[in-house]
């Protein structure tokens, strides 16, 4: 009996492996689902694009190993646009001719530049974390999917955190907003002013010019302002300069709340010990203690099949890439499930608008996308660097939605008339 049972087990294992291999090879043979990633691989966004591209390649490979999406493999087409709107449009037009209808520009100026064409062509633009904040208004921007928080939602959540840490009232509280004097940095100001009037806190605005190397004047003024909290809209090395200025001016690091664009490399450059107490508003769960990251490590990196440097897996931008494309792949799956094959932009839109309480493999706060709300909720959370790791300070927050949507509607209305 024993040899027969052993033989049967071997046969069953072989059959399972065979089916897995067959489904994988079927996924390779079937028509692919193409994602056009026109990214800035050479200029302003290079502080995030390598990590995000690596994450998306890993996730696509893992998905394809499991048979793709309904048997169709994912194909990523990555091209450089150097953060130049014209090159972004060229990339869009080229990939459109190649049959791509799902695009991602990961750049605010390029996303804004291609948006009218995408709308007119009825294609799909993934626009998470960049681009026009009012694009979450699905009633106006029907083809644009900025799933996840906008800068407007994020700043509102930051203010909510300050409110929570001041016994639930912001009356008499001083909040300094330090920002790079550029559209990215200026974006939250309207929401901040509205919230200052609503909640009664004193708002101080402290701009510094690009490229952000010289912030001494801003920080001298912040010291004079004596804020209770400092919210910073800065990128990459600008945080390093800010941390130096804070120390020089004797301002405690725990007052600093950064926008989500602060990663582990910035912490290394600031100095892990020096950065202790620093906070950031984050859109995604960081670190490797996330099932999807563990699976990628086990299935790809431990087997030498990773799509880049293993060290980048510790970077929050890696998780950001996984989160954005977990949403996109899930939307594609729902699109095929609801509309069948062949997939097209119209079905993809339905797929996105069918997302309900989807947590992007545990990386986002659960998002529900509707025809009206293409952002899906816009929740963020605050986490603090404790000298060695990020420690969440709050649960996922989605505050002042009425204020945010008021600004969204006002802004999107102007797009209708543009």
């Amino acid at each position: 009996m024993l040899p027969i049972r052993k033989y049967a087990k071997g046969l069953a294992a072989g059959a399972v492996l065979g089916i897995a291999a067959l489904s994988s090879s079927m996924a390779q043979a079937a028509d692919p689902i193409k994602f056009g990633m026109c990214y800035d691989l050479s200029k302003s966004y290079t502080f995030i694009t390598p990590q995000i591209v690596q994450a998306v390649r890993d996730l696509a490979e893992l998905t394809n190993m499991k048979g793709g999406i309904d048997g169709h493999p994912i194909e990523l087409i990555v091209q450089d646009h150097g953060n130049e709107p014209q090159r972004g449009i060229e990339c869009y037009e080229k990939l459109k001719r190649e049959g791509v209808f799902i695009f991602d520009m990961l750049s605010t100026p390029v996303s804004i530049a291609v948006l009218p064409r995408i709308m007119s062509d009825k294609n799909i633009l993934l626009q998470s974390l960049v681009g026009r904040g009012d694009a979450i208004d699905g009633s106006v921007f029907s083809q644009i999917f900025p799933v996840g928080p906008t800068y407007w939602g994020q700043i509102a959540n930051d203010i909510e955190y300050v409110r929570q840490t001041h016994n639930g009232s912001l009356k008499g509280v001083k909040i300094a907003f330090v920002y790079v004097d550029y559209p990215f940095g200026q974006e939250p100001i309207e929401i901040l002013k509205t919230l200052a009037a609503k909640e009664g806190f004193e708002l101080g605005l402290f701009p510094y010019p690009l490229p952000g190397s010289d912030q001494s004047s801003a920080w001298t003024q912040i010291r004079k302002f004596q804020p209770d909290a400092i919210v910073s809209w800065s990128l990459a090395k600008m945080h390093v300069v800010a941390s130096r200025e804070m120390k020089r001016n004797g301002i405690p690091m725990d007052k600093y709340i950064s926008v989500n664009w602060l990663n582990e490399i910035d912490i290394t450059n600031i100095g892990p010990a020096e950065a202790k107490g620093l906070k950031r508003g984050t859109n995604v769960a960081g670190g490797q203690d996330v099932p999807i990251v563990k699976e990628i490590i086990a299935e790809l990196y431990d087997k030498g099949k990773g799509n880049g440097d293993r060290a980048k897996l510790n970077d929050v931008y890696y998780n950001t890439g996984l989160a954005i494309y977990s949403v996109a792949f899930e939307a594609a799956r729902l699109a095929v499930e609801k509309g069948g094959w062949p997939l097209n932009a119209e079905k993809m839109k339905v797929g996105f608008e069918s997302l309900k309480n989807y947590d992007a493999n545990g990386l986002f706060a659960p998002v529900t996308v509707t025809a009206e709300d293409h952002g899906g909720g816009g929740k963020t959370r605050i986490e603090m660097w404790d000298g060695e790791k990020w420690v969440p300070q709050t649960d996922w927050i989605g505050a002042y939605n009425d204020v945010v949507w008021e600004v969204v509607k006002k802004s999107s209305k102007s797009f209708k008339t543009e």
Binding site: T46, S216, T220
Partner: protein, 295 residues
């Protein structure tokens, strides 16, 4: 009026301005010999900082040794650029040389991105960022270090231009043809000025790298550095130093009072106004030679 606040803004502005002077000195060195603003000086500054980090981080050489090694390497890089790229342009229109420096800028930025990527890296000189008070004024230690280096370089170049070699460079700067006719090797002189500008680029890259970390954005120092050099007079090292101080004070103090009124953005506006007024009213700058004309 809060006079202490005003004084602190002025002193810190002057110190920051001297950091831009450090950059501008490199521009002046090339201009003195080639009569062309070197648009690749920002990229050279970034390259110098990357070379230092390549030795200190990738090869494990101590920073105090990596800096002089990088200086020597960049000295020869400067010589090489002149020999390979610029010598064959002798006698061509100035605009062609200008375009060559622009091409070099793009080439260096692209190459460094390919080799070292876009991730920023720390330059750890070990300068303390603890508060430092001079009386009631809170000053920046790294800015003081940078300002001291800038002044030291200025003094060193004053002596250099009084040496035999320096006088040759001044002669080349005064008149190419006359220098040739008396047997001065103009090519070597121009090469030396590029080499010295590359050395200055390393020093600038190290100081600014400590302040902001090392990445592609170091090359953007060109814009402010060029403004300082134009204000001071493109061929005057003294002008570069004094213009740095002046511009630093104007933008630091001006923006502190104007930003709250205009809602931000006044700092760049002030720099632009200074640049435009300089070109309109005094095209040769504060200390430049009068024979510099607008083209």
């Amino acid at each position: 009026m809060d006079w202490i606040f005003l004084a602190e803004l002025s002193v810190n502005g002057a110190l920051t301005g001297l950091l831009y002077s450090l950059f501008a000195i490199g521009l002046v060195l090339v201009y003195k010999s080639s009569s062309v603003p070197n648009l690749a000086q920002g990229a050279l500054t970034m390259l110098g900082a990357y070379v230092v980090l390549a030795f200190s981080i990738q090869l494990g050489v101590p920073l105090w040794l990596a800096i002089p090694v990088a200086i020597v390497i960049m000295f020869f890089v400067g010589l090489g650029i002149e020999k390979v790229a610029l010598r064959r342009l002798a006698g061509r229109p100035i605009v062609m040389i200008l375009m060559m420096t622009l091409g070099l800028d793009i080439f260096i930025r692209g190459s460094t991105l390919a080799v070292w990527g876009g991730t920023s890296r720390p330059m750890e000189l070990g300068v303390s960022y603890d508060p430092f008070f001079a009386g009631p004024l809170l000053l920046s230690r790294i800015n003081m270090v940078g300002a001291a280096v800038s002044v030291a370089l200025f003094v060193a170049f004053i002596f250099f231009f009084r040496s035999r070699l320096g006088i040759r460079l001044r002669a080349i700067s005064d008149d190419y043809m006359a220098s040739w006719s008396v047997g001065i090797s103009v090519e070597r002189g121009v090469g030396l000025s590029w080499a010295l500008a590359s050395v200055v680029a390393v020093i600038t890259g190290v100081i600014w790298g400590e302040i902001q970390s090392v990445d592609q954005s170091l090359s953007l120092l060109l814009l402010k550095g060029l403004t300082v050099a134009v204000l001071g007079g493109l061929d005057s090292i003294l002008g570069a130093v004094l213009a740095g101080i002046l511009l630093g004070i104007v933008e630091n103090v001006g923006s502190a009072y104007l930003d709250p009124i205009v809602g931000g953005g006044s700092r760049d506006l002030l720099v632009a106004i200074v640049l435009i007024l300089t070109v309109m009213v005094r095209p040769h700058g504060l200390f430049g030679r009068h024979d510099i004309e607008r083209v």
